[in-house]
């Protein structure tokens, strides 16, 4: 997912920088945050800062019609259900923030185990039990793209590791405790049954005082 979102941004920036990156190397740093909930949905935040010249051209492209970004993302990420897009920009600090939500991002394998796809171009590093740091670099023409992503798994993750799925694709596999409903009636039945037997037994042992 990160690769595809980053790929789309690369295309946009490539367009932006084609005009003035013929002679000098441009470096673009893209920052992402993926927050995964306990049913495999994600909230994605993409934050981008720009130089004065980059900002001017960005405003002429996606700044004029950010909904095009939404359309292209929906094309690129058709494997998920995207919704709740928000776009904001801070002209004073030349920064824009795009957020959206995606359903069906992690695949449930059963018994609390989930798989989050990590493309082979991405370098993952575990920061804590439920936080991973993902990086990717790419060069297009004279533009060097550096992508950094923080992946936050649900707080109650028990274990997470990089492995491969049944198709040989690299995934981040994590396990969250399975919520189990207590069999309340069964417990009550057992407790009351035991107590009943104990009381009936006791009725023969403890005779009433006459």
């Amino acid at each position: 997912m990160m690769k595809k979102v980053a790929g789309l941004m690369t295309v946009i920036f490539l367009y932006v920088f084609t005009a003035f990156s013929q002679t000098q190397m441009e470096k673009i740093k893209m920052e992402f945050e993926f927050k995964i909930d306990d049913v495999g949905n994600a909230e994605v935040v993409y934050k981008q800062s720009a130089t004065a010249m980059q900002w001017k051209i960005l405003n002429q492209t996606i700044g004029q019609n950010p909904s095009l970004l939404k359309r292209d993302l929906m094309h690129q990420l058709s494997a998920y259900e995207l919704y709740d897009f928000k776009f904001s920009k801070d002209d004073m600090n030349r920064t824009f923030i795009l957020t959206f939500k995606a359903k069906g991002v992690s695949k449930y394998k059963g018994n609390g185990v989930w798989d989050f796809k990590i493309e082979k171009e991405i370098s993952p590093r575990q920061v804590s039990k439920n936080v991973w740091y993902l990086t990717m670099t790419n060069t297009e023409g004279n533009v060097l793209y550096e992508m950094y992503a923080t992946l936050k798994l649900p707080d109650n993750v028990e274990k997470s590791e990089i492995t491969t799925d049944e198709f040989g694709k690299r995934v981040l596999r994590y396990k969250v405790p399975v919520k189990k409903e207590l069999p309340v009636f069964l417990i009550l039945g057992a407790v009351s049954g035991v107590l009943g037997i104990v009381l009936i037994g006791a009725s023969f042992v403890f005779k009433p005082k006459s």
């Binding site: 049913v39 494997a79 259900e81 059963g110 049954g193 009381l199 009936i200 037994g201 006791a202 009725s203």
Partner: protein, 568 residues
């Protein structure tokens, strides 16, 4: 015996039995599965291999996308999703999701693997995709089948965009499906392969080791293909592209012939001549691409860092009044490329993109499987026989900068007159108008589904001339009427420029005359339109010429114009 204890114990035992009973008989409510289905309104048979490939262009060519959410409080188990397209695809092996937790969403996409027989569909055909969804909701297994309609278009029909009208932001959006044109490049077609072998053997007389690595070898190949087309009488001829409403999209739908049809039929639109050129080039082991603008397309051989563009339409034709030499075609191709690289201009149109055929085909935009055809092979043999027998029989006028040039010192002229054709009178079934139409023109009533005021379309056999008749009820001015039509065309990605040029009496009525130009990819149509206000609205017609001048067929056009009658 302690009666209190005994009584309490018995009560607890009874309660225990009740609780056990509740545990086994009272179950939480079954889960419900929310099903949302999204689907594409139409598929193009030419791209059937693309639709079946989940990897092609990031998987954007799915036919159905099912979004399934567990809305209950229990796990849904053993969720199975299977699809079929009756008459084409049997039930697919189900995609299985063993468990879906409460609140979890599963997204399942269907990439239909159509059989190659779909390429035989010639006209739009309604079809359905059926989706079978079964799952255990915590209490029982539920199965339901849903049906989604879509269209299978004719094999020659190309839909330029799937983007809904309200999402179209600029001209490139109106050509969003352009990548799929790469599916029209058919280097593996047995007929194209046979043709290429014959060309290499009989025209190129073989190629050197490491062929096509030098500019000279590349140009020799391009010249052989171009001169073959000219010498065997191939001509440039348009096909009709009409705006059409498909689902919630409005797109130009253009009829594009397969390269084998262009080769053996002897005529092609700019994009068809480009796909033919690339088919032959890729079949010969070259890399090829197509430059695309809002009005035009032309091919280029790719070698190293540079393209070798060629203006394939310079083959012209007698009807167009000129045929360019290979050197002129190369020069024109290079000029177009320079203009394209700077964004395009009024003449060649706005830059849409470049189709790197080899790259696109390696990414999954694959052409259809085409069967060998003895009759077509024979036709190819006849073309080579024609070439060996002296080439083009028709005489050619080579025109450059509006000046007639000599060919080998002799002015070549043609004396052939256009064939005389009869006229049929078309009488509107509603009794609103009548008009004379050449008997060999193809007439279509209500050519654009859903546009009720576009009542009649007619086009010449070569598709260079077209007549359109409009009956716009409720309109009170001709300006409003033409604005309505222009809006329709522009919503489909066309660009229209026009002006009012005065009045003209036709029959016993006064008409307002407009002239203008409509531009779609690869086609530029010059037209005249005549509208008159009636008691119930505005009635009128336009008559146009695609990629040529109206004056080429002035006599026929004048006769059509003069014949128009409105009845009240």
């Amino acid at each position: 015996m302690n009666k209190k204890f005994l009584f309490s114990g018995v009560v607890l035992i009874i309660l225990s039995v009740v609780f056990f009973g509740l545990h086994f008989f009272i179950k939480p409510p079954p889960s419900t599965l929310e099903i949302q289905l999204r689907s594409k309104p139409a598929v193009m048979p030419i791209a059937y291999k693309v639709y079946g490939n989940p990897e092609a262009l990031d998987g954007r060519f799915w036919l159905v996308k099912a979004v399934l959410t567990n809305k209950g409080e229990q796990n849904i188990k053993n969720l199975k999703i299977s699809y079929r397209v009756p008459d084409y695809i049997d039930w697919t092996t189900p995609n299985i999701y063993k468990e879906v937790l409460p609140g979890q969403t599963v997204v399942d996409r269907f990439y239909p693997k159509f059989p190659s027989k779909i390429i035989n569909v010639m006209n739009p055909t309604p079809a359905n995709v059926e989706i079978r969804i079964s799952y255990n909701n915590g209490r029982e297994t539920v199965e339901e089948i849903r049906k989604v309609p879509f269209q299978i278009r004719g094999r020659n029909e190309f839909i330029y965009t799937d983007i809904p009208v309200e999402e179209i932001a600029d001209i490139t959006d109106a050509y969003d499906n352009s990548y799929l044109l790469a599916a029209f490049v058919t280097p593996e077609d047995p007929i194209i392969k046979y043709f290429t072998q014959q060309l290499q053997q009989k025209v190129l007389k073989g190629t050197a080791a490491g062929a096509f690595t030098t500019p000279d070898e590349i140009l020799r190949f391009m010249e052989a293909v171009y001169n073959f087309e000219v010498s065997t009488g191939m001509v440039y001829a348009g096909t009709l592209g009409l705006p059409e409403k498909i689902g919630n999209t409005y797109s130009i739908v253009q009829r594009i012939r397969l390269p084998r049809e262009v080769l053996t039929g002897g005529a092609g639109l700019c994009v068809e001549l480009s796909t033919l050129f690339c088919s032959i080039a890729v079949s010969a082991g070259l890399k090829c691409g197509i430059f695309l603008t809002s009005k035009h397309a032309w091919p280029a051989i790719l070698s190293g860092d540079r393209p070798y563009p060629i203006e394939a339409t310079m083959i012209g034709g007698k009807g167009l009044g000129k045929v360019g030499s290979f050197q002129e075609a190369i020069r024109a191709g290079e000029q177009n490329f320079q203009i394209w690289a700077t964004g395009g201009n009024e003449r060649i149109g706005i830059q849409i993109g470049f189709l790197d055929i080899n790259q696109l085909q390696s990414e999954g935009i694959r052409p259809p499987e085409l069967q060998d055809d003895v009759a077509l092979r024979k036709k190819v043999d006849e073309l080579f026989a024609k070439l060996e027998g002296g080439g083009r029989e028709d005489k050619i006028i080579i025109v450059k900068d509006q000046q007639q040039e000599t060919d080998g010192g002799t002015v070549i002229t043609t004396t052939t007159q256009p064939p005389v054709v009869g006229f049929n009178i078309y009488k509107d079934p509603a009794g609103v108008f009548s008009i004379s139409i050449p008997s060999n023109w193809i007439v279509t009533e209500y050519p654009v589904p859903g546009v009720s005021y576009f009542v009649l379309g007619a086009s010449s056999p070569d598709s260079l001339n077209a007549l359109e008749v409009y009956v716009l009820e409720g309109f009170v001015s001709t300006d409003d009427a033409i604005n309505e039509i222009v809006t329709l065309i522009e919503s489909a990605g066309g660009q229209v420029t026009y002006r009012k040029v005065g009045k003209k009496r036709i029959g016993n009525r006064q008409f307002v005359k407009y002239t203008g130009t409509t531009v779609f990819p690869g086609t530029s149509t010059s037209w005249e339109a005549y509208f008159t206000v009636t008691g119930t609205g505005v009635v009128g017609f336009s008559i146009g010429a695609t990629n040529t001048s109206l004056n080429t067929q002035r006599r026929i056009i004048d006769r059509i114009i003069k014949s128009f009658r409105v009845y009240e």
